[in-house]
Symmetry: C2
Subunit: 216 residues, 2 copies
């Protein structure tokens, strides 16, 4: 489980592992974990994860949604490459999610997403997926910060010990600190930090904004 | 669009790009395309795709299910790396799938999967996802061969020009040729070829079994 010190996860939405590593170094002091996603992975696989992991725990946002045997192998490779956790799609079903959990490491299950298309299928099953995530022993769930009104019901479903991660802060519509104030453990911020002229300063300001709204 | 000569797509379910390339070489004569998935990608990203693409068109089975902007960038990187097509999750919603189509290349939309967990959420929306795939101009859909009774209704939804790709042959339960006999364009075979003592011979025999059942 990631330690919620700053309640901030950096979404390293950067193309090129060198640039990605630079942004991670500049912001390491203000973040609790680093989330990498497709564009970084496609370039050179998980090469570079070990370097990032020296700065903060790395979560691979693969949105895994494969059959159980493939999910399991993918998670094992991620762990061997130095990643601490993975994000998988709950809609792939309980057996697929369980395969990730059994592979070890932190597993965060997507129950809803921040884009309009999420409402078409995924969001119709969000609470059911959250219950399933709890039942299979996942570390937490991922739910969008731009629909903060639903966070309370997710918390009720998953209980106090599972973590709730919220993307959708900044450019996608949410304000820093709002999701944590509503009960999330982490806010995931990408473009607002990675595209800033000074990523370190942007991360610092967002971490401060979140800190000012944390429930004590 | 892939040309259906043998109606057979090789699922290169192999760890290690060198071993993957070897299996592709041994089977190239009997297959119409190569599908690569997570374990291959995680190792070194899309390094090696260009070599495979000299043998047959490469489809990246990323089961993309991200927000539209990320799906788009991922597809663009895949195309630049020499891949012809991508498999995405229709469950992520119309905007996410449209982003893949707009990035160019062949887009195949998963409407259902072969594992039990598919029945929990995805399969409840399969026909709606197939209609959406047609509406956004996808090249085809991916539906499991181990539920062949549904292929006729998928064909009715997507029409004659879209392609239907069927995984789930061999170890997952389907018999070679059954899905093509029911109207699919391609059968996707992985372990039954990759784990065979002689992958070339296994591919040849499966291609022959399919050919014997093709509707003329």
């Amino acid at each position: 489980m990631i330690e919620p010190k700053n309640h901030l996860i950096l979404a390293l939405d950067v193309i090129g592992i060198e640039r990605a590593a630079k942004v991670a170094q500049l912001t390491a002091e203000y973040i609790d974990a680093i989330k990498i996603h497709w564009p970084v992975i496609l370039e050179r696989g998980l090469h570079g994860v070990r370097g990032l992991a020296e700065l903060a725990p790395v979560i691979v946002d693969a949105k895994l949604s494969d059959i159980p045997s493939t999910n399991r192998v993918a998670c094992e490779i991620m762990r061997c490459s130095g990643a601490s956790g993975v994000i998988c799609q709950g809609f792939a079903g309980e057996d697929s999610v369980r395969a990730c959990v059994e592979a070890g490491g932190d597993v965060y299950v997507l129950v809803e997403m921040s884009h309009p298309g999420s409402l078409q299928f995924i969001s119709k099953h969000s609470e059911e997926i959250a219950r399933m995530a709890r039942n299979v022993g996942a570390s937490g769930i991922v739910a969008p910060a731009n629909r903060p009104e639903k966070l309370a019901s997710y918390r009720e479903i998953v209980g106090p010990s599972m973590q709730i991660l919220c993307p959708g802060i900044g450019i996608q519509g949410g304000n820093p600190g709002d999701a944590v104030a509503m009960g999330a453990d982490f806010e995931i911020v990408g473009r607002a930090i990675c595209s800033a002229k000074d990523p370190g300063l942007a991360a610092k300001e967002i971490a401060q904004a979140i800190a000012s709204k944390v429930r004590r």
